[in-house]
Each structure stands twice: as structure tokens, then as C-alpha cells.
């Protein structure tokens, strides 16, 4: 990873301009050219250093619903249950964690009603209770990873 890739990652996690030629404007601030910036972003998307490039939408402000859910999954059936949970398109992320509550996933739906429905479907499919921990207040969201 060279200096320019670093600058792009460190300085372009937000603030990408909304104008006719935004890459040109951003490239000038980063000390490079429009075509080089586009090529670098494409390359980092291709090799997996970036997962995405574009707008990051706020689910609740869009009118949707979002919740963090946890389940206690018996070790012997963990992979099978993970497959069942992951098959729901509403499951945005899912992590195994070292706790008795060992499966933690984020559910995102377009309406609050759909979220409740989806929770019930997951309980029905897996035969396991889901603990629903919807956010009451957000104090900070802004992972800014420095490289």
C-alpha cells in the first residue's frame, strides 16, 4: 500500500463531493489526478481493501428499522443455524462471538413491522429464541480506520 492509497483511505471515508466532476475535485485535494483516483479506488475495490465506494445510508432516517439481535446456539448445530439465519436477506451482518450468546446479527428492514415479522420467522426457522436489542440512542457512529 503506497502513500496515495493511504491518503485515499484516510481522507475519503466521507466528504466525497456532490458536483459534476467530484473525482476531479477530490483528486485535487488528495494531490493526484482524476483518472488516477478512479483507478486507485477501482483497484482497492477489486482487491478487497475497500468493501464499497458511495453513499452510506442511515437505515432509521430512511424510515426503516434496524436492530441488533443475539441467540444462544448449541455448538453442535452452529453452522446449520448460521446458514438458516444468513439465508434471510434482512440479515445484514452476522458474527460469531465468544459468549454464551454466541451469534450476533443485524437485521435491517424497510419498516418496523417487517422487522418484527422477520424476527418471528427466524425464531420459527431455527427453533431458538432471539434476543432483540434495538438501539435506544446512538452516541457515536463513525468508524474511521487509519492506515
Amino acid at each position: 500500500m503506497d502513500e496515495l492509497d493511504r491518503r485515499i483511505i484516510n481522507r475519503l471515508q466521507g466528504g466525497f463531493p456532490v458536483c459534476e466532476c467530484p473525482f476531479l475535485e477530490a483528486a485535487e485535494l488528495l494531490g493526484t489526478t482524476e483518472s488516477e483516483l478512479i483507478a486507485r479506488i477501482q483497484c482497492m475495490l477489486d482487491d478487497g481493501r475497500l468493501t464499497r465506494f458511495g453513499p452510506l445510508y442511515h437505515a432509521e432516517n430512511m424510515g426503516g428499522a434496524l436492530s441488533l439481535c443475539a441467540m444462544k446456539v448449541p455448538a453442535g448445530s452452529f453452522d446449520e443455524r448460521a446458514e438458516q439465519v444468513n439465508a434471510f436477506p434482512e440479515v445484514a451482518h452476522n458474527y460469531q462471538r465468544d459468549h454464551e450468546l454466541n451469534m450476533w446479527f443485524v437485521l435491517a428492514t424497510e419498516t418496523p413491522e417487517q422487522l418484527d415479522e422477520c424476527l418471528h420467522e427466524i425464531e420459527k426457522t431455527t427453533g431458538l429464541p432471539v434476543i432483540n436489542l434495538p438501539r435506544k440512542e446512538e452516541f457515536y457512529v463513525g468508524p474511521h480506520f487509519k492506515v
Binding site: F16, V18, Y57, N61, A92, H93, V147
Partner: protein, 164 residues
């Protein structure tokens, strides 16, 4: 060209659907998007500015894969703090530069006694433990108990999507 409120809701939805996976890597990405959607570029750019202003868009930019960048340890630190103080406490914890997300969530007794969540990422377990000690020191005797849940495996990571 004037659009009704309903047209705008529909247009915003189409913009979200077209860009939730990313913006075109084109020198004029908003113009490209506008031609795909069959609307004027100025209208598309105005919708982006409005959605940034009203918080429907958090930000526009690159989303790094923190695992690929060496941040391989992902810890969910969870804290049981008095509900009456949680606003002040949450703001302090969220302001730490080592915390990437910080939320107040409901307790779920008896399985889950914690009401404050702070996500911490690091290059090693040691680094993450050190960072979590900083949170513990900041909170001091406000904490009744806490725990750290390290992620042992990513099972899915597609990000938020509508219109599935």
C-alpha cells in the same frame, strides 16, 4: 420540471436502490446515474444534497474493509451503567477516538444485563484489551459490571440493503 412529494419519495427510493451497492466509477458519476434513472443530473445532485442534510445519507466516500487493513480484532465491549446517567456516559465513551460505534440498548434480564455498547477494533487482542481498559478507566465506579465479546468468525457481511 416540478415533482410532487410522492414523485420525490419514489425518486429517492430509486436513487437508494441504484447506489446502495456503490456509485459508478465514472468521471461524472451523478450524471451517469441520472441518465440510468432518466432524470436531470441537477435533480439527482439536489436529492443527494438533501439526503446528506437531513441525515438519510451519513456520508459519501470509501468504505474500507477493516480486516484487510489489519484491524482483525473486533470487540463488542458491553457495560452495565446506571440508566439515569447513560446519556452523559455514552457521550463520553462515544467521544473516545478508539470507539467506532457507541449505543444505548435495552437490557434483557437475566441473559443480558448490559445497556451500553462500545465497539472497538484493533490489530491484536492485546491492543483491543488496552483500548477497553481506557474505557473502563474513564467510566470508573459508574460500571457495575462489563464484558468483552470478541468476534471469532464473520458469518455474513453484506451491509444494509433495501428492496430485497
Amino acid at each position: 420540471m416540478s415533482m410532487s412529494a410522492d414523485d420525490l419519495v419514489q425518486l429517492d427510493r430509486r436513487i437508494v436502490l441504484a447506489t446502495q451497492a456503490g456509485l459508478p466509477l465514472d468521471a461524472r458519476p451523478y450524471h451517469r446515474l441520472a441518465s440510468e434513472l432518466g432524470v436531470e443530473p441537477d435533480v439527482v445532485m439536489e436529492r443527494f444534497r438533501i439526503m446528506l442534510d437531513d441525515g438519510r445519507i451519513r456520508r459519501i466516500g470509501v468504505v474500507p474493509n477493516h480486516y484487510r487493513l489489519g484491524y482483525s480484532v473486533n470487540a463488542m465491549s458491553v457495560w452495565d451503567v446506571p440508566d439515569g446517567n447513560i446519556k452523559a456516559i455514552g457521550k463520553k465513551v462515544g467521544a473516545l477516538d478508539i470507539v467506532s460505534h457507541c449505543y444505548h440498548r435495552p437490557r434483557h434480564p437475566p441473559d443480558w444485563p448490559y445497556n451500553l455498547f462500545a465497539m472497538v477494533h484493533g490489530h491484536s487482542q492485546e491492543e483491543v484489551r488496552y483500548k477497553i481498559e481506557r474505557i473502563a478507566r474513564l467510566l470508573g465506579d459508574k460500571v457495575r459490571r462489563h464484558d468483552v465479546l470478541l468476534s471469532t468468525r464473520i458469518l455474513k457481511k453484506t451491509g444494509l440493503r433495501i428492496g430485497n
